[in-house]
């Protein structure tokens, strides 16, 4: 049987130990482990993830280690609620605290979660960014995310028209 802890090497050349349980929450690491059964247990290189971000990911995994495995729900036609959009509310209090971080960190965690294929964390970060976008005007979004405005006023007017923008839009 393989050892209980896995070591990984992050992009900044740090070797971090994490428990097998946490490591297996990442599908990417999990499949690497499966592929290397019987081979020498070397440190797994994670060139996309910095140690700082990985620690955050491990934090999240620790808190969610006992969550039931995510089940792929087949969405059935629900007679009354089929028109509801995807829900972006974050219900877990710990998660709310967790996403309360700088945008840079959030984006880095999201990229890491995508790379490591940690589904729950990935969804959480996407929801958080979506919540950040909600209820903001384009100007506010640009300011919040530091995005260049490369649209002309005519473009914006045309888009507003095409979308049938609501009256409280700016």
């Amino acid at each position: 049987m393989a050892s209980e802890s896995i070591s990984v090497t992050t992009s900044d050349d740090q070797t971090i130990q994490l428990s097998r349980k946490h490591a297996q929450m990442s599908q990417t690491i999990n499949s690497m482990l499966e592929d290397s059964v019987g081979a020498d247990q070397e440190a797994i290189p994670l060139p996309n993830v910095s140690s700082e971000v990985l620690k955050k990911v491990i934090d999240w995994c620790t808190h969610h280690e006992n969550d039931p495995a995510p089940v792929e729900k087949v969405k059935k036609l629900n007679k009354k609620r089929e028109y509801k959009a995807k829900n972006s509310t974050i219900s877990d209090e710990w998660d709310k605290n967790f996403v309360n971080a700088e945008l840079r960190v959030i984006v880095d965690i999201l990229l890491a979660a995508n790379y490591l294929d940690v589904k729950g964390l990935f969804e959480l970060m996407c929801k958080h960014i979506a919540n950040e976008l909600k209820g903001k005007t384009p100007d506010q979004i640009r300011e919040r995310f530091g995005i260049q405005d490369d649209l002309t006023e005519e473009d914006k007017a045309a888009m507003r028209k095409a979308w049938g923008a609501t009256k409280n839009d700016s």
Binding site: T10, S11, T28, S31, M32, D35, I44, P45, P47, N48, S50, K75, K76, L77, N78, K79, K80, E82, Y83, A85, K86, N87, S88, V107, D108, L110, L111, A112, N114, Y115, D117, K119, F122, C126, K127, I129, A130, L133, K134, G135, K136, T137, P138, I141, R142, F145, G146, I147, Q148, D150, L151, D155, A158, M159, R160, A162, W163, A165, T166, D169
Partner: protein, 441 residues
């Protein structure tokens, strides 16, 4: 402005990437970008059988160069990066024809400010950077991830996000995202359809007839706007049939409007209103008429407004061909108001329950279609209340033997449409209404 030639900072293998495509200083500092050197210069550090990321169409360990190119290629078309003949990667793609609002963007145009101008960016990067530089939005997150984030947005937010910059506008027009939205909402998405899902979805978001809750005696057109009673040819007496529509959200105000395309005479002919539950689809009477329908509010074609199965005392005007019948539901004030040709009918009815579905009952080959109004009529545009006694023989039985099954002639249609287009339908309609009632068998 944030272009930064990073030739000096990474290995030789990166020159191709960094020399001709932008890498913002912001991204370069992130760990994701720091992989650039490793992934390109060293052998892939693990086996190729690794599963891909949640959304990514490329392996997570694919060289960043290839990844960035595939992203930018899909963002900007195949014109400036890579060879056009190269097949697209499977996965999300932005159809080129969906963005017709913007002038075509090429690398020297509106987003050219961050591509190719090396001298400027050298100056910038050498600066202290007092505040975080503005970045092109696709440097914030790759396309696939942004699509996923956008899938959580409601339409209003998505509309606003699409106006942040041209890249987000492209992403928000992604056909497959709209198809997924459609699937989420209606539980079905036929991939064979090569349609503009955004258009379809947007239109259906307004509201549309449900093909699921439509009885077989009724026909719903493909665009879900028109519904008709399909049993004209049958000699047997047929029952009323009711079709409900998908409502819009039940949080605030909703306005539903239909146009009467075809109107065969019957004592009631068409009933339009709102129901709490999907009603019994086929019954002897239209919905809302009997007190069995505890939560229904409807406007009958003979000008009677029914609340929970009981008639109102104030009368409304009867339906005519080409009339536009509107229903305004305000869930905040729990009220419902009916309109005919933009004029309020009856009084404002209060005490409605949440989650009402628009519904229509049809008989005798009548046909109505949904109109998406430009403006919602106000309650102040009130017509004179018409006080008419209820006819005793108000007959909504399933038989149509008694009725003459007469479809309006062209002349009548014209008169009716003139009336409906005119500014004062209240002046002529009462007389017609009387004729309508007294012209029975």
């Amino acid at each position: 402005m944030v272009q930064s030639p990073t030739v000096g900072s990474c290995a030789v293998g990166c020159v191709g990437l960094c020399g001709n495509r932008r890498v913002s200083p912001r991204l370069r500092e992130t760990p994701a970008a720091s992989l650039t050197g490793m992934a390109l210069c060293g052998p892939l550090p693990c086996s190729p059988s690794i599963r891909g990321p949640v959304l990514g169409s490329l392996s997570p360990l694919a060289p960043l160069k290839e990844y960035r190119q595939s992203v930018t290629k899909r963002m900007f078309g195949t014109g400036n990066v890579g060879s056009p003949s190269q097949p697209r990667k499977a996965g999300k793609s932005v159809p080129k024809n969906v963005v017709t609002l913007l002038p075509r963007v090429d690398s020297t145009d509106s987003i050219g400010s961050h591509s190719g101008d090396e001298r400027l960016s050298e100056e910038e990067t050498s600066d202290e950077e007092p505040r975080e530089p503005l970045v092109p939005a696709d440097d914030l997150l790759p396309l696939e991830l942004m699509l996923h984030v956008f899938s959580y947005l409601d339409l209003d937010s998505l509309s606003r996000a699409s106006r942040v910059c041209s890249n987000w506008n492209r992403i928000s027009n992604d056909n497959e995202m709209w198809r997924d939205r459609w699937a989420l909402r209606y539980g079905e998405s036929d991939k064979r359809y090569d349609v503009g899902w955004k258009r379809l979805y947007r239109r259906s978001t307004l509201w549309s007839w449900s093909s699921v809750h439509c009885p077989p005696e009724m026909e719903v057109d493909n665009d879900r706007r028109t519904v008709r009673d399909a049993c004209v040819q049958q000699s047997k007496p047929k029952a009323w049939t009711t079709c409900i529509g998908y409502p819009t959200d039940s949080s605030g105000k909703c306005y539903y409007e239909i146009k009467i395309d075809r109107l065969a005479t019957n004592s009631i002919n068409i009933v339009f209103g709102a129901v709490r539950e999907p009603p019994i689809l086929k019954s002897n009477s239209p919905f809302g008429i009997s007190t069995r329908d505890k939560s229904s509010w409807c406007y009958c074609g003979d000008g009677v407004i029914m609340i929970r199965g009981l008639p109102e005392t104030t009368r409304a005007q009867p339906f005519e061909v080409n009339d536009r019948i509107g229903m305004k539901i305000n869930y905040r004030t729990k009220s419902i108001t009916f309109f005919r040709n933009g004029l309020m009918q009856g009084r404002r009815l209060t005490g409605i329950t949440p989650d009402l579905y628009p519904a229509v009952s049809l008989i005798d080959g009548n046909q109505v279609s949904i109109v998406y109004p430009i403006a919602i009529p106000s309650n102040k545009t009130k017509t004179k209340a018409i006080q008419i006694q209820l006819p005793k023989d108000r007959d909504f039985s399933l038989s149509r033997q008694g009725s003459q099954n007469r479809v309006m002639s062209d002349e009548e249609v014209n008169t009716a449409s003139n009336n409906s287009a005119g500014s004062s339908p209240s002046s002529s309609s009462p007389m017609q209404f009387w004729r309508h009632l007294t012209a029975g068998p």
